[in-house]
């Protein structure tokens, strides 16, 4: 029988990988989560603590999936601190996914926004020419660079890392690199996930060149299924209409790039 996605399934954390001092990947076995599409997410229960919307990370082992978490608030820190053998609950997968284009592809990711980008890379065609931009504040916070290269061994590709302080890769904001690239190259598809301002600028630059661009948004979520309304952005619900939206749709949304809502539902400026 097919599993009810809204009913929590308990999984055991099998392995914990340190990505950076503040980012870890927790690997677990679950057939359903191993097969999600890039952009889809799960609601992840840390028993006794909280439940968080998390993009589902790939695993190199069949039937396994993972969550890559940055410790930030109490809930994400609790998830970050889980050890192998401990339980998590998952429900989902929820949400839509990226529309795959072929040809020259540009991916722009920052922080744990790289998770759906890595999954998207597993869907590239061998003839695609793929550029991956990874933005980080500083050298210590760079992760998934090797993974991106590994996933693209069959493709013509480049992985470019930018750091705000110049301690690794190219110095500057990742969006400056986006601008530089779209100014001189045509891309058949531009995909982005990460901090909202980064996505906003990426969408703006790509859209201004007439490129097909999509972004996977993040919002505070409670239900994940379109009931509570917490994740609304204008008239869109990220959990149900997204997480992936077309650039032109996003640019016509008055809240994208400007506001997110707090737990009470009041808009706050980015």
């Amino acid at each position: 029988m097919q599993r009810n996605p809204n009913h929590t399934t308990i999984c055991i954390v099998e392995k914990v990988i340190d990505e950076t001092p503040t980012v870890r990947t927790l690997v677990f076995s679950d057939d359903v989560m191993s097969k999600v599409l890039p952009g889809q997410f799960a609601m992840v229960w840390i028993p006794g603590v909280n439940e968080l919307p998390m993009s589902v990370m790939i695993s190199n082992e069949l039937g396994k999936a993972a969550f890559t978490v940055r410790k930030h608030g109490p809930a994400s820190t609790a998830l970050f601190n889980l050890k192998a053998g401990q339980q998590i609950g998952v429900r989902g997968p929820y949400g839509n996914s990226f529309d795959l284009k072929q040809g020259k592809i540009l991916l722009v990711g920052g922080g744990t926004g790289l998770v759906p980008m890595m999954r998207l890379l597993t869907f590239m065609n061998p003839q695609d020419d793929v550029t991956v931009l990874i933005g980080a504040k500083t050298k210590d916070e760079v992760f998934f660079e090797d993974l991106a290269n590994k996933l693209l061994t069959k493709n013509i590709h480049q992985v470019i890392v930018t750091t705000d302080d110049g301690s690794y890769g190219e110095k500057g904001y990742v969006t400056d690199m986006v601008k530089k690239l779209v100014d001189v190259n045509h891309y058949d598809g531009v995909y982005t996930c990460g901090p909202e301002i980064m996505m906003f600028k990426t969408v703006q630059y790509a859209h201004s060149k007439g490129l097909f661009v999509q972004a996977s948004l993040e919002r505070m979520m409670k239900c994940g299924v379109g009931i509570c309304g917490s994740c609304c952005v204008g008239e869109d619900l990220v959990c149900r209409d997204g997480t992936v939206f077309d650039g032109d749709h996003l640019l016509s949304n008055p809240e994208f790039g400007h506001f997110h809502r707090n737990k009470a539902g009041i808009p706050e400026i980015y």
Partner: protein, 303 residues
């Protein structure tokens, strides 16, 4: 002639009989606009309190294996003053403002915030089953219900609806008390207090432990309540509880409801559910010789 699905709940006139229930999606005017465009006859806001409330930590909702939901969102809402400002520009969407509070003065304060807004009605939340000192705890206290409804009726001319639930005071008595104090309509039923325990972790799933059961499992109970209220009292009723198809909606009309609200069905079927139910009702009416919703109301009681 094509049947009309417009309806009246007392003095509240609606072009379509299916409304958005309180607690669902109701925190932004943009989303209200979209729901209205997609067939909602009216939208009921999240229950608003005097101040913004964050609600409970997650997990706040849980899907049962065989359908239905248990939630304890905890009445998170941006607060009446913010909300009133947000909906002030609205002129087109019938908005029913749901209010939650502990004492008559809370309700009086909140209604004053909406003086410059076009409001279709207020719905008093006397029935949320998972937050202390408000909701069902208020609804279970007949003296408090009396005081709140009386004060609210004296504060505004806009129609007042009371939403009832299954608490320790018999809901029919709560309805009777509200009617004595001049209530304009009743919404029945709120979610029913419930819980879920995960057997692998051996702990309740919801952070609040208790929540409210909604969706298909409660529909027969809500239907029974509507039937009982309409059999005992002459008061307009809005049916609510597990309605997810046109057939469910028609059942509620036949039991005595003048309109219906849907909530969980949006989680199951998304926003198209409004138009689906509206067109199903219309088709049923054509096939069964009804030209107005009014003709259907309470028909099952005559059999």
């Amino acid at each position: 002639m094509e049947p009309s699905i417009s309806t009246s709940v007392g003095s509240i006139n609606l072009e379509r009989p299916v409304m958005l229930a309180s607690g669902i999606l109701g925190i932004s005017l943009d989303v209200f606009r979209r729901l209205h465009r997609n067939g909602a006859g009216a939208v009921v806001t999240k229950s608003l309190s005097k101040e913004p409330w964050e609600g409970y930590p997650n997990p706040t909702i849980f899907g049962l294996k065989n359908g239905g939901w248990i939630n304890a969102v905890g009445l998170s809402n941006p607060g009446a003053p913010y909300f009133a400002k947000m909906i002030e520009p609205n002129n087109e969407i019938p908005i029913i403002v749901s209010l939650v509070g502990s004492i008559p003065e809370d309700f009086e304060f909140m209604i004053k915030q909406f003086e410059n807004c076009k409001i279709t009605a207020y719905e008093l939340n006397l029935s949320c089953p998972h937050v202390a000192k408000v909701g069902l705890e208020v609804g279970d206290d007949p003296e408090l219900v009396k005081k709140i409804v009386t004060v609210v009726k004296n504060t505004t001319k806009i129609p007042i609806i009371a939403k009832v639930g299954l608490g320790t005071t018999h809901y029919l008595d709560t309805v009777g008390t509200a009617i004595e104090c001049g209530i304009d309509a009743i919404t029945a039923l709120n979610t029913i207090r419930a819980m879920a325990i995960n057997v692998d972790t051996k702990r309740p799933i919801l952070s609040n432990k208790y929540g409210g059961l909604s969706g298909p499992p409660i529909k027969p109970i809500a239907l029974r309540c509507v039937y009982e209220i309409s059999s005992k009292y002459d008061v307009p009723i809005i049916g609510c509880g597990g309605i997810s198809t046109w057939e469910d909606a028609v059942e509620f009309f036949l039991a005595g409801a003048s309109a219906v609200q849907i909530g969980s069905a949006i989680g199951d079927n998304w926003i198209g559910v409004f138009d689906d139910i509206n067109s199903g009702i219309k088709k049923y009416m054509s096939e069964n010789g009804f030209s107005t919703i009014r003709e259907m109301i309470g028909v099952a009681k005559k059999s």
